[in-house]
Protein backbone atom coordinates (compact mmCIF):
# COMPACT_ATOMS: atom_id res chain seq x y z
CA UNK A 1 0.00 0.00 0.00
CA UNK A 2 1.17 3.49 -0.75
CA UNK A 3 2.48 5.59 2.07
CA UNK A 4 0.13 8.10 3.64
CA UNK A 5 0.65 11.78 2.93
CA UNK A 6 0.07 13.71 6.16
CA UNK A 7 -0.36 17.47 6.49
CA UNK A 8 0.06 18.83 9.96
CA UNK A 9 1.43 21.75 11.94
CA UNK A 10 4.65 21.25 13.85
CA UNK A 11 5.89 23.96 16.20
CA UNK A 12 3.64 26.53 14.54
CA UNK A 13 4.69 25.78 10.98
CA UNK A 14 2.93 23.75 8.31
CA UNK A 15 4.63 20.40 7.81
CA UNK A 16 3.99 17.39 5.59
CA UNK A 17 5.49 13.95 5.44
CA UNK A 18 4.95 10.45 4.10
CA UNK A 19 4.51 7.61 6.57
CA UNK A 20 3.50 3.99 6.88
CA UNK A 21 -0.04 3.51 8.28
CA UNK A 22 1.33 1.88 11.44
CA UNK A 23 4.24 4.28 11.90
CA UNK A 24 4.26 6.24 15.16
CA UNK A 25 4.33 10.01 15.33
CA UNK A 26 7.58 9.64 17.27
CA UNK A 27 9.18 7.84 14.33
CA UNK A 28 7.80 10.35 11.81
CA UNK A 29 9.06 13.33 13.82
CA UNK A 30 12.52 11.85 14.09
CA UNK A 31 12.92 10.08 10.76
CA UNK A 32 10.72 11.99 8.31
CA UNK A 33 10.98 15.51 9.75
CA UNK A 34 14.46 15.27 11.30
CA UNK A 35 13.24 16.49 14.68
CA UNK A 36 15.40 14.23 16.82
CA UNK A 37 14.91 16.16 20.05
CA UNK A 38 12.01 13.89 20.95
CA UNK A 39 13.51 10.66 22.29
CA UNK A 40 12.43 7.05 22.27
CA UNK A 41 12.76 5.42 25.67
CA UNK A 42 10.48 2.46 26.32
CA UNK A 43 8.18 2.76 23.27
CA UNK A 44 5.30 1.54 25.46
CA UNK A 45 4.10 4.80 27.01
CA UNK A 46 5.74 4.20 30.38
CA UNK A 47 8.78 6.51 30.43
CA UNK A 48 7.71 9.91 29.06
CA UNK A 49 10.88 10.48 26.99
CA UNK A 50 8.81 10.95 23.81
CA UNK A 51 6.38 13.48 25.36
CA UNK A 52 4.96 16.04 22.95
CA UNK A 53 1.91 18.29 22.88
CA UNK A 54 -0.84 17.31 20.47
CA UNK A 55 -3.36 20.15 20.18
CA UNK A 56 -1.92 21.41 23.47
CA UNK A 57 -2.43 18.08 25.25
CA UNK A 58 0.56 16.21 26.71
CA UNK A 59 0.81 12.77 25.07
CA UNK A 60 3.43 10.04 24.54
CA UNK A 61 4.28 10.28 20.83
CA UNK A 62 5.21 6.57 20.79
CA UNK A 63 1.50 5.79 21.27
CA UNK A 64 0.22 8.15 18.56
CA UNK A 65 0.16 7.03 14.95
CA UNK A 66 1.79 9.54 12.63
CA UNK A 67 -1.35 9.57 10.47
CA UNK A 68 -3.36 10.80 13.47
CA UNK A 69 -1.51 14.13 13.36
CA UNK A 70 -3.32 15.14 10.14
CA UNK A 71 -4.66 18.73 10.65
CA UNK A 72 -3.49 18.74 14.28
CA UNK A 73 -0.98 20.99 16.01
CA UNK A 74 2.15 19.27 17.28
CA UNK A 75 4.61 20.90 19.68
CA UNK A 76 7.99 19.27 20.26
CA UNK A 77 11.01 20.29 22.33
CA UNK A 78 12.33 22.09 19.24
CA UNK A 79 9.38 24.48 19.44
CA UNK A 80 10.12 25.80 22.92
CA UNK A 81 13.09 28.10 22.43
CA UNK A 82 12.45 31.49 20.83
CA UNK A 83 15.18 31.70 18.22
CA UNK A 84 18.45 31.58 20.15
CA UNK A 85 16.76 32.35 23.46
CA UNK A 86 16.19 29.19 25.46
CA UNK A 87 12.80 28.64 27.06
CA UNK A 88 13.01 29.45 30.80
CA UNK A 89 12.61 25.73 31.55
CA UNK A 90 15.59 24.89 29.35
CA UNK A 91 17.68 27.59 31.06
CA UNK A 92 16.70 26.44 34.55
CA UNK A 93 17.44 22.79 33.74
CA UNK A 94 20.98 23.91 32.84
CA UNK A 95 21.34 26.16 35.88
CA UNK A 96 20.18 23.43 38.25
CA UNK A 97 22.16 20.72 36.43
CA UNK A 98 18.87 18.83 36.18
CA UNK A 99 20.21 16.33 33.66
CA UNK A 100 23.02 13.91 33.05
CA UNK A 101 22.67 11.72 29.96
CA UNK A 102 19.86 13.90 28.64
CA UNK A 103 17.62 11.26 27.09
CA UNK A 104 14.74 12.01 29.45
CA UNK A 105 15.25 15.78 29.39
CA UNK A 106 13.18 16.83 26.35
CA UNK A 107 10.25 14.82 27.69
CA UNK A 108 10.57 16.36 31.14
CA UNK A 109 10.74 19.88 29.71
CA UNK A 110 7.76 19.41 27.39
CA UNK A 111 5.76 17.84 30.25
CA UNK A 112 6.76 20.64 32.61
CA UNK A 113 5.69 23.21 30.01
CA UNK A 114 2.27 21.56 29.84
CA UNK A 115 2.07 21.81 33.64
CA UNK A 116 3.06 25.50 33.77
CA UNK A 117 0.66 26.33 30.92
CA UNK A 118 -2.18 25.06 33.14
CA UNK A 119 -0.86 25.80 36.60
CA UNK A 120 1.63 28.68 36.83
CA UNK A 121 2.02 28.14 40.57
CA UNK A 122 2.31 24.38 41.15
CA UNK A 123 3.14 22.99 44.57
CA UNK A 124 6.03 20.57 44.79
CA UNK A 125 3.54 17.74 45.19
CA UNK A 126 1.58 18.82 42.10
CA UNK A 127 4.79 19.00 40.07
CA UNK A 128 5.91 15.57 41.27
CA UNK A 129 2.55 13.96 40.47
CA UNK A 130 2.33 15.68 37.08
CA UNK A 131 5.82 14.47 36.15
CA UNK A 132 5.37 10.97 37.59
CA UNK A 133 5.15 9.60 34.04
CA UNK A 134 8.62 10.92 33.17
CA UNK A 135 11.39 8.59 34.26
CA UNK A 136 15.01 9.64 34.84
CA UNK A 137 17.58 6.95 35.52
CA UNK A 138 20.62 9.23 36.12
CA UNK A 139 19.99 12.40 38.01
CA UNK A 140 17.13 11.50 40.25
CA UNK A 141 14.25 13.85 40.55
CA UNK A 142 15.16 16.53 43.09
CA UNK A 143 17.11 18.75 40.73
CA UNK A 144 14.45 18.39 38.05
CA UNK A 145 11.68 19.37 40.46
CA UNK A 146 13.74 22.30 41.73
CA UNK A 147 14.35 23.48 38.16
CA UNK A 148 10.62 23.31 37.36
CA UNK A 149 9.54 25.14 40.52
CA UNK A 150 12.26 27.77 40.04
CA UNK A 151 11.10 28.30 36.45
CA UNK A 152 7.54 28.74 37.64
CA UNK A 153 8.65 31.35 40.18
CA UNK A 154 10.67 33.22 37.60
CA UNK A 155 7.92 33.15 34.98
CA UNK A 156 5.41 34.49 37.52
CA UNK A 157 7.79 37.34 38.33
CA UNK A 158 8.31 38.14 34.65
CA UNK A 159 4.59 37.99 33.96
CA UNK A 160 3.79 40.68 36.54
Amino acid sequence: MAKLHVHTTVNGEAAEFLCEPHETLLAALRNELGLTGTKEGCATGDCGACSILLDGRLVPSCLVLAAESQDRAVTTIEGLALGDALHPLQRKFLEHAALQCGICTPGFIVAAKALLDRQPEPTEQEARFWLAGNLCRCTGYDKIIRAVLDTAAEMRKTAV
Partner: protein
Amino acid sequence: MQVIRYEAPRSVTDAVRLMQADPGARILAGGTDLLVQFRAGLRRPTAFIDIKRIPELVGITLDDGGLRLGAATAAAVICEHAEVKRLWPGLVEAVRLIGSTQIQGRGTVGGNLCNASPAADTTCALIVNRATCAIAGPAGERVLPVDEFCTGPGKTALRAGEFLVALHIPRPGPRTADAYLRLIPRSEMDIAVVSAGVSVTLAPDGTCSAARVAIGAVAPTALLVAEAAGALVGSRLDETALSRAGAAASAAAKPIDDKRGTVAYRRTTAGVLTRRAARTAAARARGH
Protein backbone atom coordinates in the same frame (compact mmCIF):
# COMPACT_ATOMS: atom_id res chain seq x y z
CA MET B 1 4.86 -8.35 6.22
CA GLN B 2 1.12 -7.89 6.12
CA VAL B 3 -0.06 -4.48 4.92
CA ILE B 4 -1.89 -2.52 7.59
CA ARG B 5 -4.35 0.23 6.77
CA TYR B 6 -5.16 3.38 8.74
CA GLU B 7 -8.70 4.74 8.42
CA ALA B 8 -10.21 7.80 10.11
CA PRO B 9 -13.96 7.64 9.38
CA ARG B 10 -16.07 10.75 10.04
CA SER B 11 -19.28 9.01 11.01
CA VAL B 12 -20.48 6.01 13.00
CA THR B 13 -22.00 4.60 9.80
CA ASP B 14 -18.68 4.76 7.99
CA ALA B 15 -16.89 3.16 10.93
CA VAL B 16 -19.43 0.32 11.03
CA ARG B 17 -18.95 -0.22 7.29
CA LEU B 18 -15.16 -0.37 7.68
CA MET B 19 -15.40 -2.78 10.61
CA GLN B 20 -17.86 -4.97 8.74
CA ALA B 21 -15.70 -5.07 5.61
CA ASP B 22 -12.57 -6.23 7.44
CA PRO B 23 -12.82 -8.72 10.30
CA GLY B 24 -9.17 -8.04 11.16
CA ALA B 25 -9.73 -4.31 11.71
CA ARG B 26 -9.38 -2.95 15.23
CA ILE B 27 -10.82 0.21 16.70
CA LEU B 28 -8.13 2.73 17.65
CA ALA B 29 -9.08 5.17 20.38
CA GLY B 30 -6.23 6.35 22.64
CA GLY B 31 -3.92 3.55 21.55
CA THR B 32 -2.47 3.11 25.03
CA ASP B 33 -3.37 -0.57 25.02
CA LEU B 34 -3.76 -1.39 21.32
CA LEU B 35 -0.49 0.13 20.07
CA VAL B 36 1.48 -1.47 22.90
CA GLN B 37 -0.10 -4.86 22.13
CA PHE B 38 0.56 -4.31 18.41
CA ARG B 39 4.22 -3.45 19.01
CA ALA B 40 4.65 -6.51 21.22
CA GLY B 41 3.19 -8.72 18.49
CA LEU B 42 0.19 -9.68 20.64
CA ARG B 43 -2.24 -8.23 18.13
CA ARG B 44 -1.92 -8.16 14.36
CA PRO B 45 -4.72 -5.91 13.14
CA THR B 46 -5.21 -5.55 9.39
CA ALA B 47 -6.48 -1.99 9.87
CA PHE B 48 -6.57 0.68 12.55
CA ILE B 49 -9.98 2.36 12.57
CA ASP B 50 -9.33 5.67 14.33
CA ILE B 51 -12.68 6.78 15.78
CA LYS B 52 -11.52 10.11 17.18
CA ARG B 53 -12.66 12.05 14.08
CA ILE B 54 -16.28 11.02 14.65
CA PRO B 55 -18.01 13.86 16.53
CA GLU B 56 -20.27 11.58 18.63
CA LEU B 57 -17.29 9.58 19.85
CA VAL B 58 -15.47 12.46 21.48
CA GLY B 59 -16.64 14.79 24.20
CA ILE B 60 -18.87 15.21 27.22
CA THR B 61 -22.56 16.14 27.24
CA LEU B 62 -24.29 16.83 30.52
CA ASP B 63 -28.00 17.61 30.70
CA ASP B 64 -31.07 16.80 32.84
CA GLY B 65 -30.98 13.23 31.58
CA GLY B 66 -27.44 12.74 32.79
CA LEU B 67 -23.97 12.34 31.41
CA ARG B 68 -22.93 11.15 27.99
CA LEU B 69 -19.27 10.32 27.53
CA GLY B 70 -18.15 9.74 23.97
CA ALA B 71 -16.24 6.46 24.12
CA ALA B 72 -13.06 8.08 22.75
CA THR B 73 -13.02 10.93 25.28
CA ALA B 74 -9.57 11.14 26.87
CA ALA B 75 -9.25 10.63 30.62
CA ALA B 76 -7.71 14.10 31.08
CA VAL B 77 -10.75 15.76 29.49
CA ILE B 78 -13.07 14.01 31.95
CA CYS B 79 -10.92 14.94 34.95
CA GLU B 80 -10.94 18.61 33.94
CA HIS B 81 -14.76 18.82 33.82
CA ALA B 82 -15.77 20.60 37.04
CA GLU B 83 -19.45 19.59 36.94
CA VAL B 84 -18.68 15.93 36.24
CA LYS B 85 -16.27 16.01 39.19
CA ARG B 86 -18.96 17.50 41.43
CA LEU B 87 -21.69 15.01 40.46
CA TRP B 88 -19.53 11.87 40.18
CA PRO B 89 -16.47 12.35 42.39
CA GLY B 90 -15.91 8.59 42.55
CA LEU B 91 -15.97 8.18 38.78
CA VAL B 92 -13.43 10.97 38.39
CA GLU B 93 -11.28 9.41 41.15
CA ALA B 94 -11.24 6.22 39.11
CA VAL B 95 -10.48 7.93 35.78
CA ARG B 96 -7.69 9.99 37.35
CA LEU B 97 -5.89 6.85 38.53
CA ILE B 98 -5.27 5.53 35.01
CA GLY B 99 -1.60 5.96 34.18
CA SER B 100 0.53 9.08 33.95
CA THR B 101 -0.35 12.58 32.75
CA GLN B 102 0.75 11.51 29.27
CA ILE B 103 -1.42 8.39 29.32
CA GLN B 104 -4.32 10.48 30.64
CA GLY B 105 -3.97 12.68 27.58
CA ARG B 106 -4.36 9.69 25.28
CA GLY B 107 -6.20 6.89 27.06
CA THR B 108 -9.98 6.94 26.83
CA VAL B 109 -12.81 5.88 29.09
CA GLY B 110 -14.21 3.59 26.39
CA GLY B 111 -10.83 2.03 25.77
CA ASN B 112 -10.38 1.31 29.45
CA LEU B 113 -13.67 -0.57 29.40
CA CYS B 114 -13.11 -2.34 26.06
CA ASN B 115 -9.65 -3.55 27.08
CA ALA B 116 -11.64 -5.53 29.65
CA SER B 117 -8.97 -5.86 32.28
CA PRO B 118 -10.49 -7.22 35.51
CA ALA B 119 -8.42 -4.51 37.24
CA ALA B 120 -9.57 -1.59 35.02
CA ASP B 121 -10.16 1.39 37.29
CA THR B 122 -13.20 2.86 35.58
CA THR B 123 -15.27 -0.32 35.40
CA CYS B 124 -16.35 -0.46 39.06
CA ALA B 125 -17.12 3.26 39.08
CA LEU B 126 -19.23 2.93 35.91
CA ILE B 127 -21.09 -0.08 37.34
CA VAL B 128 -22.06 1.60 40.60
CA ASN B 129 -23.29 4.62 38.64
CA ARG B 130 -25.59 2.43 36.51
CA ALA B 131 -23.83 3.34 33.28
CA THR B 132 -25.12 1.93 30.01
CA CYS B 133 -23.11 1.30 26.86
CA ALA B 134 -24.30 2.58 23.47
CA ILE B 135 -23.00 0.11 20.91
CA ALA B 136 -23.03 0.45 17.12
CA GLY B 137 -22.71 -2.41 14.69
CA PRO B 138 -23.88 -4.00 11.47
CA ALA B 139 -27.29 -4.77 13.04
CA GLY B 140 -27.78 -1.19 14.21
CA GLU B 141 -27.44 0.32 17.63
CA ARG B 142 -28.07 -1.40 20.94
CA VAL B 143 -27.74 -0.53 24.59
CA LEU B 144 -26.19 -2.76 27.24
CA PRO B 145 -25.79 -2.21 31.01
CA VAL B 146 -22.10 -1.74 31.73
CA ASP B 147 -22.06 -4.63 34.22
CA GLU B 148 -22.83 -6.98 31.30
CA PHE B 149 -20.18 -5.50 28.99
CA CYS B 150 -17.04 -7.31 30.15
CA THR B 151 -17.35 -11.09 29.96
CA GLY B 152 -13.83 -12.13 30.97
CA PRO B 153 -10.22 -10.92 30.94
CA GLY B 154 -9.82 -9.12 27.58
CA LYS B 155 -13.29 -10.26 26.49
CA THR B 156 -16.40 -8.14 25.96
CA ALA B 157 -19.97 -8.58 24.81
CA LEU B 158 -19.16 -6.76 21.55
CA ARG B 159 -20.11 -8.87 18.52
CA ALA B 160 -18.26 -8.95 15.22
CA GLY B 161 -18.16 -5.48 13.68
CA GLU B 162 -19.53 -3.76 16.77
CA PHE B 163 -17.88 -1.00 18.76
CA LEU B 164 -18.62 1.17 21.77
CA VAL B 165 -19.96 4.62 20.87
CA ALA B 166 -20.73 6.21 24.23
CA LEU B 167 -21.41 5.67 27.90
CA HIS B 168 -24.53 7.12 29.49
CA ILE B 169 -24.82 7.72 33.22
CA PRO B 170 -28.11 8.86 34.74
CA ARG B 171 -27.93 12.06 36.76
CA PRO B 172 -27.69 11.23 40.47
CA GLY B 173 -30.77 12.05 42.53
CA PRO B 174 -30.62 14.12 45.71
CA ARG B 175 -28.32 12.90 48.51
CA THR B 176 -26.55 10.48 46.15
CA ALA B 177 -22.79 10.13 45.88
CA ASP B 178 -20.11 7.69 44.79
CA ALA B 179 -16.54 6.84 45.75
CA TYR B 180 -13.80 4.64 44.34
CA LEU B 181 -10.71 3.21 45.99
CA ARG B 182 -8.00 0.87 44.85
CA LEU B 183 -5.03 -0.71 46.52
CA ILE B 184 -1.63 -0.56 44.85
CA PRO B 185 1.75 -1.13 46.50
CA ARG B 186 3.13 2.21 45.29
CA SER B 187 1.73 5.74 45.30
CA GLU B 188 1.28 6.23 41.54
CA MET B 189 0.91 4.40 38.27
CA ASP B 190 0.21 0.82 39.05
CA ILE B 191 -2.49 -1.75 38.40
CA ALA B 192 -5.09 -2.34 41.09
CA VAL B 193 -4.47 -5.33 43.35
CA VAL B 194 -8.05 -4.87 44.55
CA SER B 195 -10.54 -2.07 43.96
CA ALA B 196 -14.00 -1.08 45.13
CA GLY B 197 -16.62 1.38 43.98
CA VAL B 198 -19.68 2.37 45.99
CA SER B 199 -22.67 4.59 45.33
CA VAL B 200 -25.23 5.39 48.02
CA THR B 201 -28.48 7.35 48.13
CA LEU B 202 -29.86 8.68 51.39
CA ALA B 203 -33.51 9.29 52.27
CA PRO B 204 -34.24 12.73 53.81
CA ASP B 205 -33.94 11.18 57.29
CA GLY B 206 -30.41 9.95 56.53
CA THR B 207 -31.31 6.29 56.02
CA CYS B 208 -29.68 4.62 53.02
CA SER B 209 -32.42 4.09 50.43
CA ALA B 210 -30.31 2.72 47.58
CA ALA B 211 -26.77 1.46 47.11
CA ARG B 212 -24.50 -0.16 44.54
CA VAL B 213 -21.22 -1.90 45.32
CA ALA B 214 -18.73 -3.21 42.75
CA ILE B 215 -15.32 -4.79 43.33
CA GLY B 216 -12.49 -5.15 40.85
CA ALA B 217 -9.37 -7.30 40.32
CA VAL B 218 -10.86 -10.13 42.39
CA ALA B 219 -12.62 -12.09 39.61
CA PRO B 220 -12.44 -12.47 35.80
CA THR B 221 -14.60 -9.32 35.56
CA ALA B 222 -15.54 -6.53 37.93
CA LEU B 223 -18.35 -7.82 40.18
CA LEU B 224 -21.56 -6.07 41.13
CA VAL B 225 -22.17 -7.27 44.70
CA ALA B 226 -25.87 -7.08 45.47
CA GLU B 227 -25.34 -8.59 48.97
CA ALA B 228 -22.99 -5.76 49.93
CA ALA B 229 -25.47 -3.17 48.69
CA GLY B 230 -28.21 -5.01 50.60
CA ALA B 231 -26.21 -4.63 53.81
CA LEU B 232 -26.20 -0.86 53.33
CA VAL B 233 -29.83 -0.26 52.28
CA GLY B 234 -32.09 0.48 55.24
CA SER B 235 -29.17 1.30 57.51
CA ARG B 236 -27.87 4.70 58.58
CA LEU B 237 -24.52 3.71 57.07
CA ASP B 238 -23.09 3.26 60.55
CA GLU B 239 -19.94 1.22 61.14
CA THR B 240 -21.94 -1.99 61.68
CA ALA B 241 -23.60 -1.66 58.28
CA LEU B 242 -20.31 -0.78 56.61
CA SER B 243 -18.65 -3.84 58.15
CA ARG B 244 -21.46 -6.07 56.95
CA ALA B 245 -21.09 -4.67 53.44
CA GLY B 246 -17.35 -5.29 53.63
CA ALA B 247 -17.91 -8.87 54.73
CA ALA B 248 -20.33 -9.41 51.85
CA ALA B 249 -17.77 -8.04 49.38
CA SER B 250 -15.07 -10.33 50.78
CA ALA B 251 -17.43 -13.29 50.48
CA ALA B 252 -18.23 -12.42 46.84
CA ALA B 253 -14.60 -11.99 45.81
CA LYS B 254 -13.17 -14.87 43.75
CA PRO B 255 -9.57 -13.74 43.36
CA ILE B 256 -6.50 -15.52 42.03
CA ASP B 257 -3.01 -15.72 43.50
CA ASP B 258 -0.49 -13.79 41.45
CA LYS B 259 2.56 -11.61 41.89
CA ARG B 260 0.40 -8.67 42.89
CA GLY B 261 -1.47 -10.37 45.73
CA THR B 262 -2.62 -13.61 47.26
CA VAL B 263 -6.18 -14.89 47.40
CA ALA B 264 -6.46 -14.31 51.15
CA TYR B 265 -5.01 -10.81 50.96
CA ARG B 266 -7.26 -9.79 48.09
CA ARG B 267 -10.34 -11.23 49.74
CA THR B 268 -9.68 -9.34 52.97
CA THR B 269 -8.76 -6.13 51.16
CA ALA B 270 -11.92 -6.21 49.02
CA GLY B 271 -13.86 -5.92 52.28
CA VAL B 272 -11.67 -3.16 53.66
CA LEU B 273 -11.90 -1.07 50.50
CA THR B 274 -15.66 -1.60 50.23
CA ARG B 275 -16.10 -0.39 53.81
CA ARG B 276 -13.89 2.66 53.27
CA ALA B 277 -15.40 3.59 49.90
CA ALA B 278 -18.90 3.28 51.40
CA ARG B 279 -17.85 5.55 54.27
CA THR B 280 -16.56 8.17 51.81
CA ALA B 281 -19.63 7.91 49.59
CA ALA B 282 -21.86 8.31 52.67
CA ALA B 283 -20.00 11.42 53.82
CA ARG B 284 -20.33 12.90 50.34
CA ALA B 285 -24.04 12.06 50.15
CA ARG B 286 -24.63 13.73 53.54
CA GLY B 287 -22.77 16.82 52.36
CA HIS B 288 -24.87 17.27 49.26
